[in-house]
């Protein structure tokens, strides 16, 4: 045994270069694995810290009524062994704010009273001042600091009342209301949230949004009753974004320990919870009658619940990358070992002949692997962690921005489990890489090894046929296409493929792998590129302005009046110091019918086939009207030629839409091609209504009909209109644009762009109920300073006779900058990853191809010494290369397409409508690079073969 060990060590030392390369390969594997896994862990840990900093450590919240039983339950929970911490919030009452404050601060101000460790459990923080310590102290929402006269130390009196549901006159029945956390549906647990049954006079707590019949076609509105004055000293203002203080009707004010009678929200942090189901069960145990809601983000980041699309995407990405890293490193290490074992076959034969057992031989190779792993793995782990730490110090801020956090620093989190896992994966990589060569070393027959100076193993099939009778006449005939085209060189190549056991498999495999690795890198950047385009969609303009317009009279509803008002407002805005106007548009939402062949996949996919109306998809359209000259410029930008004059109004369709549903990003193809579509401008007998399309069904007599929600006068009704009674205007979509015009603030939903001059034919003359959106874009060197003056544009429009419900001016600059950095991070990541993968892939091809040739040096020399000339030799090598190439490239291309599809699937989890695009360019590039590298390797290998010329090769043993 000792002899074998020293033999192994000697052989490691004797081929220093290869030993170093192999150790480097192992270190690379360990470094990449530990880096990828640690990045993932660091990201989740960052999110968890960020979530705790923002919203506290609570795992679940239960809402219970304020009664004796609930109070007993709360006390019992406080003392329960597995309850780490607990805090409560209770509604004290609601203040109706005067109109001028309501615009900015909300209709009601909810006042909550807290108890328990609010700071830890709910993450309640003040931005300024301190938290309240007694019932007569209050902390006001952060927005008050800006928009009200209140300041710390003031004593304010608030008229606190209770919210009650009020049935809309003329309607009857109850309804369900409440809050559901978007995107948190769990097949096992159902939606995460609470539902209430509402009747006339039901008390409403702060978790419920405003009841507004106009907004949610509800049958209830609400009122404030029993208001009575309370006095408080203002001791602080809350910091932004706290979940528990962001109620259903807006940010709340907070006091402590005040007597109150509203529903109690109990926030609980528990120990010993490992699944969401367990948590739900435990909460039901603690509060049998309570409505439980879970802190989904916290559960997700602490690994308790696993749904949550972007994290799933990240997880699968990490998994795919880890598998690819392992595959790449296995091939790298395997090749190094296989070559080393091959070269030492004679030594192994010698050892076997002097009595080394199979086990000893195998162990010798495995020992070699272990020594290499023992050096390479720790080295790799250190390098991987070091590199991560460095990159995170450098780019941590941007990564934090990208992950959407702001409460915590991003740094490397080293978890021993992860390091251990990475080490185990690398060890597995090494083991797999070493095992096959080890088996081969053990199988060596001493006589063979000593006698056969050649390392070629013959394919079993070739041996089997060797007993057959030899027919001299057919010798050297029919040697495949290669033989026919390339003569003797081709024949030899095809015989080599037929009879050589390895068939250059190592070379083919490394070529295939190279294609896969290069393509993975390519797909990664292509797919992530689209992903960042959608996720990071920011308007190109520095400032976006969006103002809702509701005409208040028949005069102001006409297109001419609208255009005049918009142009006027735009002119006013353009006069603001330092801004450069980029254009404006007016958006109306109108029901439309888009023929199925014109509609893009996402639009078509939004309805089933039997919901089509006359073969068209019923949908709400955003119709963007632009001033005619801007429209012409927009068309020109998108390479669309406007027809000279047409009867039908023309429009440009917007091909793609991006959106974000809260947990999913959407990427929708909305238009597939040009064509005519219809805008529904009204229905017979109902043209005087604001139409909003709902669904389509069929009447009893078989006619197709469409349901509209209509606001007729003050009343909301569901109205169904047979399709043939619709009033439609045909619109000719003459071209498709990739993006909406710069002035548009929206990104999702089906949109068409039309010149303002055609608005008259499409915008039905209706009464005051129509709501439109004026949007404009501006550039400015100092966007922040232009915001306030631009907000003063809305009042100008108001004076012109429009109601304004919404006036928003956004500074895109900051968002854009951070988004650009995020894209940079993604690109840097892709580049580094691709770079490493490419190196591995190319090193592999080079290794296998050159070694394949060098090992056959003697064979080549023999052929030359018996008269093979250079041309014959070239055609033989050329044919062999084409063979390896084909056998490598084709499977490589297939596998790489599969891998890029898997990557696409991983991204699809968090983004719908993402088209699967095969990165053809990368595929072609990958093939080209691989072919070039193969050619270089062959050239190098042959040069090595020739270096000592034939004589030397023949001399060598």
């Amino acid at each position: 045994m000792k002899a074998m060990t020293s033999f192994t060590l000697k052989s490691l030392r004797s081929s220093t270069a290869r030993t170093v390369v192999t150790i480097a390969g192992v270190a690379l594997a360990a470094a990449l694995l530990v880096a990828v896994l640690s990045s993932y862990v660091s990201a989740t840990d960052y999110m968890l810290r960020n979530e705790i900093a923002a919203n506290g450590t609570w795992m679940a919240r239960s809402i219970v009524p304020d009664d004796a039983q609930s109070n007993d339950e709360i006390i019992a929970a406080e003392h329960a062994g597995d309850v780490k911490a607990l805090a409560t919030l209770q509604d004290v009452g609601f203040v109706a704010l005067p109109d001028e404050q309501a615009v900015r601060l909300g209709t009601y101000l909810p006042v909550l009273t807290g108890a328990g460790s609010l700071e830890n459990v709910c993450g309640v923080r003040v931005g300024e001042g301190r938290l309240p310590q007694s019932p007569d102290e209050i902390v006001l929402p952060y927005s008050w600091q800006r928009f009200s006269a209140a300041s710390i130390g003031d004593v304010i009196t608030l008229d606190l009342g209770e919210r009650r549901a009020v049935q809309v006159p003329g309607t009857s029945g109850g309804m369900s209301g409440g809050t559901i956390e978007a995107g948190t549906y769990d097949p096992e647990l159902g939606p995460n949230g609470i539902m209430y049954d509402i009747e006339d006079g039901s008390p409403l707590n702060s978790t419920m949004g405003y009841l507004d019949p106009a907004n949610d076609n509800g049958i209830f509105s609400e009122e404030l009753v029993n208001a009575s004055p309370h006095s408080y000293t203002v001791v602080g203002f809350t910091a932004m974004d706290n979940w528990s203080l962001m109620t259903g009707i807006g940010p709340a004010a907070l006091t402590v320990d005040e007597a109150a009678t509203g529903d109690i929200q109990v926030y609980v942090d528990l120990t010993g919870i490992s699944t969401a189901g367990q948590l739900k069960e435990r909460m039901n145990g603690l509060f049998p009658d309570g409505d439980t809601m879970m802190h989904t983000n916290l559960l997700r980041y602490s690994g308790i619940s696993d749904h949550g699309s972007i994290w799933q995407t990240l997880f699968y990405l990490v998994a795919i990358l880890a598998v690819i890293i392992m595959a790449a490193c296995i091939s790298l290490i395997y090749n190094a070992f296989a070559i080393s074992v091959n070269e030492r076959m004679r030594q192994f034969g010698l050892l076997a002949s002097i009595g080394a057992s199979k086990r000893q031989l195998r162990r010798s190779v495995l020992l070699e692997g272990s020594i290499i792993a023992a050096i390479g793995i720790p080295l790799g782990v250190l390098i991987g962690l070091g590199a991560c730490a460095g990159i995170f110090v450098w780019l941590g801020g941007v990564i934090a921005d990208m992950l959407g956090g702001m409460h915590s620093d991003f740094f490397l989190v080293v978890s021993w489990q992860v390091v251990l896992f990475a080490v185990a994966l690398t060890a597995l990589t090494v083991l797999v890489s070493v095992w096959i060569p080890a088996l081969r070393a053990a199988r060596v027959s001493p006589i063979d090894a000593l006698r056969q100076s050649s390392t070629v193993r013959i394919a079993p099939r070739a041996l089997r046929s060797s007993g057959q009778h030899m027919r001299p006449a057919s010798l050297w005939k029919h040697r495949g296409i290669a033989g026919r085209v390339f003569g003797i060189g081709g024949s030899l190549a095809s015989l080599n493929h037929k009879r050589n056991a390895s068939k250059g498999r190592a070379a083919s495999l490394s070529l295939a792998l190279a294609i896969v690795l290069l393509m993975t890198a390519g797909s990664l950047s292509t797919q992530l590129g689209t992903f960042t385009k959608v996720v990071g969609h920011v308007s190109e303009a520095d400032i976006s302005m969006a103002i809702s317009l509701s005409p208040t009279s028949d005069e102001t509803v006409t297109p001419a009046a609208l255009e005049g008002t918009c142009a006027d407002a735009y002119e006013h805005a353009s006069a603001v110091q330092g801004v450069t106007p980029l254009g404006w548009s007016l958006t109306s939402y109108q029901p439309g019918l888009v023929p199925a062949d014109v509609a893009g996949s996402a639009l078509k996919g939004s309805v089933t086939d039997d919901s089509l109306v006359d073969g068209a998809v019923p949908t709400m359209l955003s119709v963007l009207y632009m001033p005619d000259d801007e429209f012409a410029a927009y068309a020109a930008d998108n390479g669309i030629t406007l027809p000279a004059g047409t009867d039908t109004p023309i429009a440009i369709g917007v091909r793609e839409g991006y959106g974000n549903t809260g947990t999913m990003y959407t990427y929708d193809e909305l238009f597939a091609r040009n064509g005519k579509l219809d805008i529904v401008t009204g229905a017979k007998n109902a043209s005087d209504a604001k139409l909003s399309l709902v669904t389509k069904d069929t009447t009893e007599d078989g006619r197709e009909q469409l349901s509209f929600v209509m606001l007729e006068g003050d009343r909301v009704t569901d109205r169904t209109v047979p399709a043939d009674e619709l009033e439609r205007t045909s619109i000719d979509v003459i071209g498709l644009a990739d993006q909406r015009p710069a002035s548009s603030t929206g990104t999702n939903g089906t949109a068409i762009v039309m010149p303002m001059s055609t608005a008259a034919s499409v915008l039905p003359p209706t009464t005051a109920t129509r709501s439109l959106l004026f949007s404009a874009a501006f550039d400015s060197p100092e966007p922040a300073e232009a915001i306030e003056p631009l907000k003063e544009i809305a009042p100008v429009m108001e004076k012109a006779g429009y109601d304004i419900y919404y006036n928003q001016v956004t500074d895109n600059g900051a968002a854009e900058e951070s988004m650009r950095m995020a894209v940079t991070v993604v690109n840097v990541f892709c580049f580094l990853f691709s770079f490493i993968l490419t190196l591995i892939a190319l090193a592999n091809v080079f290794n296998t191809v050159t070694n394949g040739l060098i090992l056959r040096k003697r064979e080549f020399a023999v052929m030359e010494s018996i008269g093979m000339d250079a041309r014959q030799f070239r055609s033989m090598i050329g044919c062999e290369c084409i063979g390896y190439g084909m056998r490598g490239l084709i499977p490589g291309i297939i596998v790489s397409i599969i891998v890029s599809y898997l990557l696409y699937l991983a991204l699809s989890i968090s983004m719908t409508g993402l088209p699967f695009t095969l990165p053809w360019v990368y595929l072609a590039l990958a093939c080209a690079v691989v072919i070039v590298i193969m050619a270089l390797s062959v050239a190098y290998g042959l040069r090595r073969c020739r270096k000592g010329d034939i004589v030397e090769a023949l001399r060598m043993e």
Binding site: Q452, L463, H469, M470, P472, L495, R499, G867, M868, L954
Partner: protein, 226 residues
């Protein structure tokens, strides 16, 4: 008539300090049909000489003339043609192409020459070599003696003017050695092929027509014994 004329043949391997003068101004002639044994200590330059005669290597200076033509005036391409038509080479380590069958190995020079295989010639050669029925075997299915016979078959297949063998029996037992030498000698006697054999075996050397002894790259004795 002299088939081979070697004049002032010198071969230096390497440069400067490390230069080895493997052959140093060697001159001799061999008449057609002669069987020459070359003897000498290991490293004395025997193989170098054989390779130079066989057109496998190029000399540092001096000429090798076969049938009056200086072979090293040929281009590389022409030299390759020369090797496959005019010379038959046999090595100590058989040096067969492992992926080719016995028949294919033997006929490789013909195939390289782009000619059709003469089936009769192949069949008679195989039976002469005692390899009848082994035509479809691969080299690794043969014994050492058999492999060396294949190598001889390959050397003889094209009826070369001169057969060069570098320690052809060095790896074989006595029985096999005798058979191999018998094959080479038969070819020499019956077809009048000139035969040059490097050997350490005294018996073999003594069965030759002439013995050339080499030491440090120089001919130290050249004796006709028959």
């Amino acid at each position: 008539m002299d088939i081979l004329k070697v004049s002032h043949l010198t071969k230096v391997y390497g440069k400067g300090e490390q230069a080895t003068r493997a052959l140093d101004d060697v001159s001799f002639t061999i008449p057609e049909g002669q069987f020459v044994a070359i003897i000498g200590a290991s490293g004395s330059g025997k193989s170098t000489l054989l390779h130079l005669i066989g057109g496998v290597d190029r000399p540092t200076s001096g000429t090798v003339e076969l049938n009056g033509e200086d072979i090293y005036r040929r281009s590389d391409e022409q030299l390759a043609v020369f090797r496959r038509r005019e010379v038959g080479l046999v090595y100590q380590f058989y040096n067969l192409v492992p992926i080719l069958t016995v028949a294919e190995n033997i006929t490789l020079p013909v195939a390289l020459d782009g000619r059709n295989v003469n089936a009769e010639r192949l069949t008679s050669l195989l039976s002469t070599l005692g390899l009848a029925g082994y035509g479809n075997r691969l080299p690794n299915q043969l014994s050492g003696g058999q492999q060396q016979r294949v190598a001889i078959g390959r050397a003889l297949m094209n009826n070369p003017a001169i057969v060069l063998a570098d320690e052809p029996t060095g790896n074989l037992d006595t029985q096999n050695s005798r058979e191999i030498m018998a094959l080479l000698e038969t070819a020499n006697r019956e077809t009048g092929q000139t035969l040059v054999v490097i050997t350490h075996d005294e018996d073999i050397a003594l069965s030759a027509d002439r013995i050339i002894a080499i030491e440090d790259g120089r001919i130290v004795s050249d004796e006709r014994i028959r």
